[in-house]
């Protein structure tokens, strides 16, 4: 009985997490005639929908925008957060707790509350429907997240090793580069992955602050996708696009599973 439970538990978890993904994949492989057949698996799998998606400018430009905007927001956040987290972990100054509290408070901010004013301001200063117009609001959630995760990671670094290396004759720069950087790099990398996930996931800013392929991101484009032609249902094409943007997520999770779990739990990141 106990052995059954020991196997059944993990199997149930995997089934529960993967069924919706398999369903999307199966839907994306269904041809136009089979889309309404009410079955889980495709009767005659076809890659037609993937061809449609990659021929659709709205999707390809959204993919470009999403990757570019998310990467810029991630890099900016991680750089600023690394400086702050270093100070929080290593220096003794009265603002430490304040920094973490501010980061936490802002992480819990309802993003939709910023949309109205930003919509108004961006339209008057010409940032509406541009990359910076999304990168800037993205910082409101990516930066607190990076600070939170990085300061948790940096706390665990044995900083004395830097001095030890200097005692052994290393220059400060050598000590930093050869000792601290290798110790800090995994944490920085993990923070970058989590931050990227959050930026990549944004929908609220994506639909509110863009109007065309110039800056519209993938989640927003998916929601407004109407199909290759007026007469074709967009369902299967949306499913194909959804699968395409999920592949990188699955790849990253597969490659860095342990680090992501460590980053999530040590920093008690929001979901």
């Amino acid at each position: 009985m106990r052995r059954v439970a020991r196997i059944a538990g993990p199997v149930l978890i995997v089934v529960w997490t993967l069924v919706p993904l398999l369903w999307l994949l199966s839907l994306s492989l269904k041809g136009g005639d089979h889309i309404d057949d009410g079955r889980f698996w495709p009767a005659a799998p076809t890659l037609h929908n993937y061809r449609t998606v990659f021929r659709t400018d709205l999707f390809t430009s959204a993919l470009r925008n999403s990757i570019g905007i998310s990467l810029i927001a991630t890099v900016l956040s991680v750089i600023l957060a690394t400086l702050a987290a270093y100070a929080i972990a290593r220096l003794d100054f009265p603002g430490k707790k304040l920094m973490l509290s501010v980061a936490l408070a802002i992480a819990m901010f309802p993003t939709i509350s910023l949309v109205g004013p930003l919509f108004d301001i961006w339209r008057s200063v010409g940032l509406y429907d541009t990359w910076p117009g999304l990168v800037i609001p993205y910082l409101s959630f990516t930066l607190p997240l990076s600070i939170w995760v990085l300061s948790a990671f940096f706390r665990e670094i044995p900083w004395e090793m830097e001095q030890a290396a200097q005692v052994d004759g290393a220059t400060p720069w050598q000590a930093f580069r050869k000792v601290i950087v290798p110790l800090a790099a995994p944490g920085v990398f993990t923070a970058a992955i989590l931050t990227f996930f959050f930026a990549w996931n944004d929908f609220v800013f994506g639909i509110s602050l863009t109007s065309t392929g110039r800056a519209r991101t993938v989640p927003a484009a998916l929601a407004f996708f109407t199909g290759a032609s007026q007469f074709e249902q967009p369902t299967a094409a949306i499913a194909a696009a959804a699968v395409v943007v999920t592949i990188p997520v699955v790849a990253i999770v597969l490659a860095f599973q342990r680090r992501i779990v460590a980053g999530l739990t040590s920093g008690a990141v929001k979901g």
Binding site: I13, W16, T17, G38, F93, F109, T111, S113, I260, G271
Partner: protein, 298 residues
């Protein structure tokens, strides 16, 4: 950097600390406090983007309009319902997941990877998967479970069921990983001692395990409650707010962006912000959630 390390005046260390934190703090405050202040200011006006000339100061009238409107309260009720059910169910499922992952021997890596996928996937993508699964035309649920032609999105209860299911699927992994970390901190000796003393499994769970992971549970609860209360993406994709599934975030979006009624919309946004702050205060003051202590900060 080195000056601080060799014990130079604390003032230098303090200055360096602020220099390093300054840019991040300035950016965080700049991108949130400024728009929020603007929202408060806008909320005092009657202002539609399509009619800038008609903009006029109305004081607190927008708030009066909202708070006496039936729609606001029904949206609040919907949001609270979604939040409470989602968080309660995923706390239970999340704990079950965490227990399985805590004891797992084979396939540890596979299970953790599987659990992380819903966490990492785009919310909109997940919402589409659930919407298409339940849809009358493309769905398989009615067919596979022999439900005939049940229109899930046509009525409030079934529509909310799908929305809540989608949210639970997407966010349970986060809770389960936090609880897994909490489980790892329950002292093994305590559990053994309880077993030696003849405590049943249920007693050990409620008397030893759960009290010892209270901090992790409260953190998970706080984060997820605040997050669930802001629900927007899933509602947008599945029902677009129809069939009585509109939430507070969706109302704010509809007023500001769809109707371009910036004054009224901003007032909704400010009220949403205030309710999120209230929830956080209740957790921190009422339940004594100490986030700094929960993550081992001195």
């Amino acid at each position: 950097m080195t000056a601080a390390a060799v014990g130079a005046p604390a003032r230098a260390e303090r200055r360096l600390g602020w220099m390093l934190c300054g840019p991040a703090l300035a950016v965080m405050v700049g991108v949130t406090a400024y728009p929020l202040a603007e929202a408060v200011w806008l909320s005092l006006y009657s202002y539609r983007i399509t009619d800038p000339a008609g903009r006029r100061f109305v004081g607190l009238r927008n708030y009066g309009v909202i708070l006496t409107d039936h729609l606001w309260w029904s949206d609040v009720a919907t949001t609270v319902l979604i939040t409470v059910v989602t968080v309660a169910v995923e706390l239970v499922i999340g704990f079950a997941f965490a227990s399985v992952m805590h004891r797992i021997v084979f396939g540890r890596r596979l299970v953790r990877t599987a659990v992380l996928v819903p966490y990492g996937i785009i919310t909109v993508v997940a919402a589409f998967a659930w919407r298409y699964a339940f849809a009358l035309d493309t769905g398989f649920v009615d067919h596979v479970f022999g439900l005939g032609h049940l229109a899930w999105f046509g009525q409030r209860t079934p529509a909310l069921f799908v929305i809540i299911l989608a949210e639970i699927w997407k966010t349970t992994p986060f809770i389960s990983l936090l609880l897994l970390a909490g489980l790892a901190q329950v002292p093994g000796e305590l559990l053994e001692a309880a077993e030696v003393d003849g405590a049943t499994r249920v007693q050990r769970l409620f008397r030893v395990t759960l009290p010892n992971m209270k901090a992790a549970i409260m953190v998970a609860l706080l984060f997820r409650t605040l997050d669930a209360y802001r629900i927007f993406d899933t509602v947008f994709v599945t029902t677009n707010g129809a069939a009585g599934t509109e939430t507070v975030s969706f109302l704010a979006y509809r007023q500001t962006i769809t109707r371009t009624a910036l004054g009224l919309g901003s007032a909704v946004s400010v009220l949403l912000f205030v309710s999120v702050v209230l929830i956080a205060v209740v957790f921190v003051k009422g339940f004594g959630v100490d986030l700094a202590r929960a993550r081992g900060e001195r």
